[in-house]
Assembly symmetry: C2
Homo-oligomer: 394 residues x 2
């Protein structure tokens, strides 16, 4: 009597959530310190102290104003502050009218897909991808997700495959750089080549093709790597952003959709994002955290531990024989598994209480995702276990 | 190129939002104190001080835990606290496993509709209704909304019309008591009669019919009126709740879906609610406010001003000749307009800078909604203008 596809989605929790629950069960048996849960992308770095200061200062104000409804698209002064911050950093000239504040990146993506999706439309998703994209596109927006296989040697874009998968039905291409799960950051060269391909396909098919750039990890990069600001390379870019990772606020659900005025039919797209927000019940992102992020523009948590963790894991795992593209950002390592069947490998890893996620979940079988947003000590203690696991395959 | 129905939803802002913006424009011309904006349902009562205390105490804790992702359905201890509160107040025996925390009531309703909706299903909505129900049901969940005309003499249920509108396609009936926009509270007699009707229709059609009870105004009642707790009268009730009104936190977007274990296929329904949350991008309600509401169970703001405002408006407007069912709850008065065309009447009211919403927007033409969640002084100063408006019709 209920919607069976919704019940299936609810009953078949994502592998990540399953591992998280499994880890909790194991912790009760062997002790929390003996379970090495590398499954979840929950930042381990605390929010910068400016977040606490902002909460305290806002909480001292008038509660009716603070906790009241804002405009559906977010408070005007908050949107202006966030647009100013983008302009300062990326040389753009946005106003708050291009921003629609959302309940995190998931809401941003859901609203963007729902806003664009017309009957028959296809959204092209590049592997490896965040698995929930497929839910948002198919179950949420009722469109079709078309999956492009990965470029496993560098986790940049597999352009030949992308070009083959595009068609007159392509409404948008979805990218995520810095990438979950590979940690790859698309180079300026990659973004330029992508822009050229999309422009030529727009000409070929005679309609705009949007580039939905999902960027919650934009600020999490190492070794001075630059993340190209995608709208500066391709006009028809729609940015979905969340403060989950940069400010370590994943539970607070605060982000935005940016519809640049340069993009095709931008007024219509923005209106449709607002309409999708209404249809999905999303109007008005959480009001206190709207104000908090406006007060914290340009800040991040102290992200140095992520680099420490990346280096420790990457250097040791590659020395043990694991093969891996060195990630330049985010907080994930995505090595090849030591047998082709990544699910079997990840099951075997559980024997050592190492919880890692099969790459097949992200459209890249033969890999495993290791979330290293954990205490560095946890990684140190896990390394001998990764070594034991590797020994099984020698 | 965008989804035209989404763009239309975004471009055609609700009448309420239009009035709100119009009021801001008028305020710039004639001064804020001379605009009498009775359009929005934004609580005027501050959140109880316990909310501020809870925020301060939580903010003093570990930010990684405080702002991290919770379980998709909400933190287990928070759900337990909310279930315990319901049990204490309504004599039930729920556990946290029956609750799914949401980003406000809009998300709760969206997830409930999406969870239940199968192809061909109809959701029966009783006038007068919150207009966004129709968006959530049709644009969000892709089902059909069937509208039942109001019982204008008392704003209880028009049972004859309801019975006529039900069919084998009826998946659920949606109620909202205390009601927005009429302020009516369904009596115990009404709820019993509704339960009997639904039970007989379940037998007739051979499948469960859910009762979706949208209750954000549950605690806002006057003169000792009791609000029957609907699941205690009809097993197949699904409750959608928000703390927007009781704790004056509308902007913070925190509420829940309750799927009582007594309801038909409750495990499947709960799973489908979880699945709908995934599909719509809703997992994990805002984490700080999960903790805040758990700390504030059983509390409300000081709601006495709403009774003062109701009495002042009701007594004076009826003395002027406006005809009105006396509301027993919420913070709306829903008088008949002084001409049958409520839109024309509300336009005429603008001449006096009285902003009220046409009843047609709520499925009850010939009425106007006056939101009296404003300062009492605003009502006092508006009364002579309501009198002048009435004089035009004498």
């Amino acid at each position: 009597m209920v919607n069976q596809s919704m019940a299936a989605l609810g009953n078949n929790r994502s592998t990540i959530r399953e591992l998280f629950e499994y880890g909790n069960q194991r912790a009760a048996v062997v002790g929390r310190e003996n379970v090495f849960d590398f499954s979840l992308g929950n930042p381990s770095v605390p929010a910068p102290d400016a977040v606490r200061q902002a909460i305290l200062e806002e909480a001292a104000g008038n509660p009716v104003a603070l906790h009241g409804y804002t405009s559906a698209q977010g408070a005007a002064d908050v949107r202006t502050a966030l647009a100013d911050d983008l302009n300062r950093r990326f040389g753009t000239a946005y106003t708050g009218d291009s921003l629609y504040l959302t309940v995190g990146a998931a809401a941003a993506l859901s609203c963007a897909f729902k806003a664009l999706a017309c009957p028959g439309d296809e959204f092209v998703v590049l592997s490896p991808y965040f698995p929930e994209y497929l839910m948002f596109i198919e179950s949420g927006a009722g469109a079709k997700a078309v999956i492009v296989p990965p470029s496993v040697q560098d986790f940049q874009i597999n352009f030949d495959a992308l070009e083959q998968k595009m068609s007159a039905y392509t409404k948008a291409v979805v990218i995520n750089s810095p990438n979950n799960p590979s940690g790859a950051v698309y180079s300026e060269q990659t973004i330029r080549r992508l822009a050229e391909l999309l422009q030529s396909k727009e000409k070929q098919y005679g309609h705009p093709i949007y580039l939905i750039s999902d960027e919650p990890y934009r600020e999490l990069v190492f070794d001075g790597v630059q993340v190209p600001f995608v709208p500066n390379y391709y006009d028809n870019t729609i940015v979905c952003y969340s403060y989950s990772k940069s400010l370590s606020l994943p539970g607070e659900r605060i982000g935005y959709v940016l519809v640049p005025p340069q993009s095709a039919d931008s007024a219509d797209v923005y209106a449709a994002v607002c309409g999708a927000g209404r249809a999905l019940g999303y109007v008005c992102a959480p009001s206190l955290f709207q104000r908090v992020v406006a007060r914290c523009t340009g800040l991040t948590g102290d992200l140095t531990v992520y680099k420490t963790n990346r280096d420790l894991l990457y250097d040791n795992l590659t020395a043990m024989g694991y093969r891996c593209v060195k990630p330049a950002g985010a907080f994930y390592l995505f090595p090849q598994t030591l047998e082709p069947d990544d699910r079997a490998f990840c099951e075997r890893a559980k024997k050592y209480d190492l919880l890692v996620v099969p790459g097949a979940d992200f459209g890249a079988p033969g890999h495993m995702r290791i979330s290293y947003c954990v205490a560095t000590g946890t990684i140190r203690r896990a390394l001998p276990l990764f070594e034991k696991l590797a020994q099984e395959y020698r």
